[in-house]
């Protein structure tokens, strides 16, 4: 690359040395110079600390070497604590950077080709001046076509000439800056070929002239390069292709890459074949610097003159052409930005590392430098990130104060940029100005509080707005991510490294976004009518392509229509192509059945659940004369718009929507507005949302089909009924007065699988648990049976009074309670309210806990685990449940989707027969994870999104090594308040401090982690306890998850992995969703199918899918039977059966079944299935022992094996009247 060097030296003044340096760098890899300097500075700064450290160490150790190393360590440790978030963060960054380092061998390999390519470019012959006709005839029979941009020049009005002269060749982009990283899909090397200035005239920036000249230039180059490749015999593996650089159709480039050697016959060990390096080379044809007057290409200027109605009209009345102007102008600025960034890199030690961090961060969030006007996130890639960073190193504050300092660590630089993006508005209320002129030493970047309504990072030197390619939507998304990331960076409690840098959140749309709608646009001529006719010349020069126009139209329609119902919106054109063969002029798309360059469009939405289901879309106020806003509103909504008077007396233009159990209102709005404003024939596919919402059991309540999934009225009704009862019980005169009545049932926290339905007493959750406490007394018996009897005596008193005073309304009865193992004397008072709900009262005294603990200490050692388990069950049921219910109830008001999501998750678990093995609390806490610990994603805003995130989380949860530590608090919306507009302010102010206090503190978090560490010391593989799920309510992490059979825990993990894989490989559709909820019965050792004599679906309060609602209504109970004993007739016998089976065969088998027969028990709710797993040690023969505890048969005089035949007979006999089929392996 000597040539390159020579050419570079001819470049301008001060930049010269930089570029020279740069060129040398590209040849000599990883220049030792830099590392040398780094070493020096390190050892210099070491000295101070070393002295200090030595002073301390002197007394102890005289061995100099040892002191030296520790001193160095101390220094590093100290430094990282100050310069980075924490030691571990710094170490993680180091490792990450190491991971993504480019392979030197690959660089050498590709550089070899680059030299060759350079030489070949020099061999391309220069041409004479040619007219368009001459050009056309030259290319007529050639393989290569000229990639003219639309609209292509015609012969009549093209009187300028085309010519090829040798370009100035230089490396640009991240490869030149050496900030490139390894990417699995390969990286590209940008080579700039600058057209000589004499090819242009002053006015060429107008009306595509310079672009056409460039197209011809590129065509000429491509033609001759392909000939040269043939000559050099390297054409067999080298491929040439046109590509729109960054999706900009105005900027075709030539891309060179190597074909996969497997696809071509010739075995190629050619020196120039760089296929394995995965590099590709972009030849970008640029314009010389300052060839056009920059001022004329300002974003607000018009540079495409189109015919106007009035030919005499001033061209300044024409609409601005920012995209075109940017494309032209930025084509002349590659080199100056390279110099600018290079200079900054030289003066900023950690620039390279910080830019790599930025690149990764953006990549993981789906951002790139691509034009975002044609859909998807874009307009902000590594280049924009590093340029912003450079600008902030030179100022960036309102007064030009420096936001970043050159001595910052990579972490500080990255964080500074993120913080700037998160807190400073570059769109509506301000913009950032900077100077890319490296000679202008006083250049100061400045934040100006004046917005252009478009993201603006304005370079005063080149007059380029770096963020032109960014739409407002894309910018808002970026800002949102920056905010989230800043929050994560500020989080000193949890390790957020993976969330910030490692997780690719844009991989699966259904996890990244709440709702995804597929839009199929109609075929054929219709498109002309609905789209092309609206794509007027003025729109054309503004949007350049019809695809950009369409994306903009859909985006603005939906944004206007949905307003604050959504948090963000992205439109993606699926199948959008940006490359095309060199024999074609441009992309000709054949997919999608229309002439547009995409297959179909995808609308991706982040929902704002607080507003999404509101019934009324409120428009402007009504007034006598129609305001423009009102006119817009009316014409936008058409027949939907109406005038409504609200409670406060205001009369407002508005639209009214109706809710549905199967679809969010957003779906109806999207459907309505797209049909109205795009075309009647547009097909919107949103079946996924519908299917998921229909999976949530529908309660047998009036109008339940038109009740929003977010509606919790059914729960509120139950609570209301409880409040009435509460008042009655509180008023009663009892030997000890009532201290508290605390509801702990799952319906009180909106998480019961079935919604509460009056009189639906077959529902296993029908009786909602309540804990009653009396005033303190020393008189409670000091023996557990008697204590329970004494409690029952109190309940009897309550029952007596209730019967006497409210016997006509309330019914009550006692049952035995088996929730605490070995405590056979617990009785509960079950009260049925006149509203049709049931509550189960149990008494808690201050004596209980001590007694259970005493039992542990008095027990034989081999019995201790059993008693500890009893204690845990007691604590979970009587003590922790109160806090759990209160916490979940409280925060689920802020996580609107939690209730339906957890219900769907419970249904999923039950359809896979797992729910019976897990406690409600554990399931709820696991389901809460994607809500309270959403990073790096958003808080779920749809049922499917929440559900999929739970599955994703479980599938990736390595419970052996990772505890789940939940911070059960509401989302921190108030974050913004914590930030001051001036960037120099302190990070944490009083408000955030207050918020912090509710959060888990570092000490608490560490404490929980230590608990986990201790636990795993005794059970390192998690054989006894798998799921460690802790929160402030339960720092032990074991309260709800002890005693889950290992096989069940691993099965849950396996099932979620299968589910996630299924969705990843086959997407979400009817089949996959159905499959998700189908139990895999073949995995079990045997399967018993059951049928109960009484169907329980309707009496569980579940509605049929059928249209004939009345029929289903009839069989549902509408009152309680007079005789309480009759209640049992509509109870689930299979539950008791499975319970006793599990008790009897505890040691040898694990039985599972559907817990909610009304939900998963077939069409009528009268089917169940029992599956059996044989525990591993009974799968093989073993020695006969007295305490073998399994149904075995002898093999010989010492060995026995499980007697499956007899077992099956026992199970079949036990299931007697219920069993209909028995299958075994």
């Amino acid at each position: 690359m000597n040539n390159v060097k020579r050419r570079a030296s001819s470049s301008v003044s001060e930049g010269e040395s930089a570029v020279k340096h740069l060129k040398r760098d590209t040849i000599k890899l990883d220049n030792e110079n830099e590392t040398e300097i780094e070493h020096k500075s390190e050892s210099e700064s070491d000295n101070d600390d070393e002295e200090e450290a030595q002073e301390e160490e002197n007394g102890k150790s005289k061995t100099h070497t040892k002191t030296n190393t520790t001193a160095q360590d101390i220094h590093i440790a100290r430094e990282t604590a100050e310069l980075f978030k924490s030691n571990i963060f710094k170490l993680q960054i180091d490792e990450l950077l190491e991971q993504v380092k480019l392979n030197n061998k690959n660089i050498l390999k590709v550089e070899k080709f680059l030299h060759k390519l350079y030489d070949m470019i020099q061999q391309v012959p220069e041409s004479e001046e040619q007219s368009l006709i001459e050009i056309q005839s030259f290319f007529k029979n050639k393989i290569v076509a000229v990639p003219f941009v639309d609209p292509k020049p015609n012969v009549q009005n093209t009187n300028y000439k085309f010519k090829y002269l040798k370009p100035d060749v230089s490396l640009v982009g991240s490869f030149a800056l050496k900030t490139g990283i390894y990417q699995p899909q390969g990286s590209s090397i940008d080579i700039l070929l600058t057209m000589p200035a004499e090819l242009f005239s002053k006015k060429d920036f107008l009306n595509f002239r310079c672009l056409h000249k460039r197209s011809v230039y590129l065509g000429w180059l491509t033609h001759h390069l392909s000939i040269l490749f043939q000559k050099e015999k390297i054409d067999s593996f080298l491929k040439l292709e046109y590509e729109y650089f960054n999706n900009d159709t105005l900027l075709p480039i030539l891309k060179i890459y190597c074909e996969n050697p497997n696809n071509i016959n010739t075995t190629n060990d050619n020196d120039y074949n760089f296929y394995k390096t995965k590099f590709s080379i972009n030849l970008i044809v640029g314009f010389p610097e300052k060839v056009f007057e920059h001022k004329k290409l300002l974003p607000n200027k018009n540079c495409i003159r189109v015919a106007q109605d009035d030919p005499k009209a001033d061209p300044s009345t024409l609409p601005a052409t920012p995209l075109y102007n940017f494309s032209v102008l930025s084509s002349s600025t590659y080199e100056s930005y390279l110099k600018y960034l290079y200079k900054t890199k030289k003066s900023t030690e950690s620039f390279k590392e910080a830019s790599i961090l930025g690149r990764l961060w953006l990549q993981q969030r789906g951002f790139s430098s691509n034009l975002s006007q044609s859909g998807s996130l874009g307009g902000f890639g590594t280049f924009e990130f590093t340029t912003l960073m450079a600008a902030l190193l030179n100022g960036g504050g309102v007064n030009g104060n420096k936001i970043l300092l050159h001595g910052y660590s990579s972490y500080q630089l990255f964080r500074g940029v993120i913080k700037f993006l998160a807190t400073m508005d570059l769109c509506d209320s301000g913009h950032l100005q900077f100077h890319s002129d490296i000679n202008y030493t006083d250049a100061v970047s400045k934040y100006v509080q004046d917005g252009f309504q478009t993201p603006t990072l304005f370079d005063k030197t080149t007059k380029v707005n770096i963020l032109t390619k960014m739409t407002v939507t894309s910018y808002k998304a970026l800002k949102e991510y920056a905010k989230m990331t800043l929050k994560m960076l500020n989080n000193v409690v949890q390790d957020q490294f993976a969330n910030i840098f490692l997780i690719n959140i844009s991989k699966y749309d259904n996890i990244k976004y709440d709702l995804c709608y597929k839009l199929d646009l109609p075929l054929g001529e219709d498109i002309n009518k609905v789209l092309i006719s609206k794509f007027t010349p003025n729109e054309k020069i503004k949007f350049i392509t019809i695809e950009n126009f369409l994306v903009n139209k859909i985006t603005s329609i939906l944004n206007y229509a949905l307003g604050d119902r959504i948090n963000a919106l992205e439109v993606e054109l699926v199948g959008h192509k940006s490359h095309f063969p060199i024999k074609k002029r441009k992309v000709y798309s054949s997919v999608g059945g229309h002439s547009l360059n995409f297959d179909y469009a995808k609308v991706k939405i982040l929902v704002n659940p607080a507003e999404s289901e509101k019934l009324v879309t409120r428009g402007p106020q009504h007034s006598e004369d129609i305001t423009p806003e009102a006119a817009t509103f009316k014409s936008f909504w058409g027949p939907k718009a109406s005038l409504r008077r609200f409670k406060d007396g205001s009369i407002v233009h508005s639209c009214v929507w109706s809710t549905s159990a199967s679809e969010p209102i957003i779906a109806s709005i999207v459907d309505f507005v797209l049909k109205r404003h795009i075309t009647e024939n547009v097909q919107i596919d949103n079946s996924v949302t519908k299917q998921f919402q229909e999976l949530v059991p529908l309660p047998n309540l009036p109008a339940s089909k038109s009740t929003s999934i977010l509606n919790l009225t059914s729960y509120y009704n139950l609570k209301k009924s409880f409040d009435e009862l509460y008042k009655l019980v509180f008023k009663m005169s009892l030997p000890l007065s009532v201290k508290s009545i605390l509801p702990i049932g799952s319906a009180f926290r909106y998480t019961s699988l079935c919604q509460p339905v009056p009189f639906a007493y077959s529902n296993p959750d029908f009786l909602q648990d309540v804990i009653i406490e009396f005033e303190t007394s020393q008189r409670w018996p000091d023996e557990i049976t008697s204590l329970e009897k004494a409690k029952t005596a109190f309940l009897l008193k309550i029952q007596e009074q209730l019967e006497a005073e409210h016997g006509t309304k309330y019914k009550s009865y006692f049952t035995r309670d088996e929730s605490i193992p070995f405590n056979l004397d617990v009785t509960t008072l079950n009260i049925l309210t006149p509203e049709g709900y049931g509550f189960k009262f149990r008494v808690l005294t201050e004596r209980d806990e001590v007694l259970y603990l005493r039992a542990i200490s008095n027990a034989r050692n081999d019995m201790k685990p059993l008693l500890e388990d009893t204690f845990l069950k007691f604590t979970a049921k009587y003590l922790a449940s109160v806090k759990h219910t209160r916490t979940i109830e409280n925060i689920s008001h802020s996580y609107q989707l939690f209730s339906p999501v957890v219900r769907l998750f419970k249904k999923w678990l039950d359809s896979h027969l797992l729910l019976g093995h897990l406690t409600d609390e554990l399931v709820e806490l696991v389901a809460m994870k994607p809500f309270v610990d959403a990073g790096p994603y958003h808080i779920p805003g749809s049922v499917e999104n929440g559900f999929l995130k739970i599955l994703r989380f479980i599938s990736q949860w390595n419970w052996k090594d990772e505890p789940v530590i939940l911070d059960l608090i509401k989302p921190e919306d108030e974050l913004e308040n914590g930030f001051e507009t001036s960037i120099g302010g302190s990070d944490v102010d009083a408000d955030t401090m207050k918020k912090l206090s509710e959060k888990l503190t570092l000490a608490q978090y560490k404490g929980i982690q230590t608990n986990f560490g201790h636990l795993r010391k005794t059970d390192s593989n998690g054989l006894h306890l798998q799921y460690f799920v802790a929160s402030k309510n339960d720092p032990s992490g074991i309260l709800y998850s002890s005693n889950i059979p290992l096989a069940i825990a691993t099965r849950l993990t396996a099932l979620s992995k299968i589910a996630v894989n299924l969705i990843q490989s086959h997407g979400l559709n009817k089949q996959t969703i159905d499959l998700l909820f189908t139990p895999g019965l073949n995995d079990y050792d045997f399967v018993v199918k059951l049928k109960t004599p009484v169907a329980l679906k309707h009496s569980s309060g579940i509605i049929d899918d059928s249209e004939f609602r009345n029929i289903s209504n009839d069989s549902a109970p509408t009152s309680f039977p007079d005789d309480m004993a009759q209640l049992s007739e509509k109870m689930d016998p299979t539950y008791q059966l499975v319970k006793y089976l599990n008790m009897k065969y505890k040691n040898s088998l694990i039985f599972s079944s559907h817990r909610y027969i009304g939900v998963n028990g077939g069409e009528k709710g009268d089917r169940n299935v029992i599956t059996g797993l044989i525990k591993p040690h009974f799968k093989k023969q073993q020695k006969f022992k007295v305490n073998i505890d399994g149904n075995v048969k002898p093999v010989d005089k010492e060995i026995v094996e499980l007697n499956k035949q007899a077992l099956f007979h026992e199970i079949a006999a036990f299931s007697s009247e219920l069993v209909v089929d028995f299958q075994s392996k």
Binding site: E56, D73, I74, A77, I88, Q92, Q99, V100, P184, Q364, L502, I503, N504, I505, Y508, D782, E783, I784, T785, S786, K789, T792, Y813, T815, P821, F822, N830, L853, M863, E868, T870, T875, Q956, N1011, F1012, H1014, P1035, L1127, S1128, M1131, P1133, Q1136, L1137, K1144, F1184, V1186, V1192, K1193, P1194, K1197, E1198, N1203, Q1205, A1206, F1208, H1209, E1210, F1214, V1220, F1222
Partner: protein, 299 residues
């Protein structure tokens, strides 16, 4: 299958033919006759109530004393032996009485004057008690002969006492109110009486050598040290890190009085920092080994 009449450790293998079950028979065509195998051995014990017993292992579903009487009679009849079964002891099929919470929390309600531990046998085992020595011997003789039968068609039939649909439904039935009241009343009456007695006993009798009356029993309610001891048994705090409580002396002591204290503290701080750093490095190593730093892997 090889015929096994007894196990090495002296247990006889006693097979029973199982009844056909409609849902199983269709899968069982051609397979061997389904049999249940019980293991029996003469029980030796010094306990009075455990004399004349045979030890049973692997007891079929829902076995009770009647079902045992039936099969024992059938076996004895085969060999003209006479034997009378009295009771089936310690059969706790569902493990309901694995733990006696009452006796673990207080000795008040346990059987009085029973100083020894409660007797029990392992799960899925029981003692079959006969009326006298000769019954046991007669039965044993018959069992020995029976265990030698090789032809499965000559095995004695076992009939499960299968629960019905209503058995399961009955679990949901309310407790009879009158019964409950009586039960609570009588139980509490006994308890109060026992408590009273115990208290009197304590106050009346235990006077130690020095003439002091001992008032502290094993499970006394309010003694702090005992309470603490019990609280330590909390399984929830088992894995928690133990912290040393700060005493008043610690609090009052000056920490920067001597130079050496300052120096020590500084050194300690630096060591802590260093240790933390080393720990972090270790953690990173572990994470690296698990390939936790690949940004292109996880989603």
């Amino acid at each position: 299958m090889v015929h096994v009449d007894s196990m090495k450790n002296g247990f006889l293998v006693i097979p029973f033919k199982l009844p056909e079950h409609p849902v199983l028979s269709k899968h069982e065509n051609g397979k061997s006759v389904p049999c249940h195998y019980m293991f029996m051995k003469k029980h030796q014990s010094k306990q009075e109530e455990e004399s004349n017993c045979i030890f049973l292992v692997n007891i079929p579903l829902l076995t009770n004393v009647e079902s045992m009487k039936t099969v024992i009679k059938e076996i004895c009849d085969k060999y003209d032996e006479v034997s009378y079964v009295e009771d089936l002891l310690y059969n706790d099929e569902f493990g309901l009485n694995d733990v006696n919470l009452s006796s673990l929390t207080s000795d008040l309600m346990s059987v009085p004057n029973d100083s020894s531990e409660t007797r029990f046998t392992p799960r899925n085992t029981a003692l079959l008690k006969f009326v006298d020595q000769s019954s046991v011997n007669n039965c044993w003789n018959a069992l020995v002969k029976y265990s030698n039968i090789k032809d499965s068609s000559k095995f004695v039939n076992w009939n499960y006492s299968a629960p019905s649909f209503s058995t399961f439904i009955n679990f949901y039935k309310p407790i009879d109110l009158e019964y409950l009241k009586d039960d609570v009343h009588s139980h509490l009456a006994i308890f109060e009486q026992r408590e009273q007695e115990a208290q009197e006993e304590v106050q009346g009798s235990i006077v130690d050598e020095d003439g002091f009356t001992m008032v502290v029993g094993k499970n006394t309610k309010n003694l702090n040290s005992i309470r603490k001891k019990i609280l330590k048994k909390n399984p929830l705090t088992k894995h928690e890190a133990k912290t040393k409580p700060v005493t008043m002396a610690d609090k009052k002591a000056k920490k920067d009085f001597y130079r050496f204290q300052v120096r020590e503290r500084k050194k300690q701080e630096i060591n802590q920092l260093l240790n933390k750093f080393k720990e972090d490095q270790e953690r990173i190593k572990v994470m690296k080994a698990k390939k936790k730093f690949n940004p292109y892997r996880s989603a």
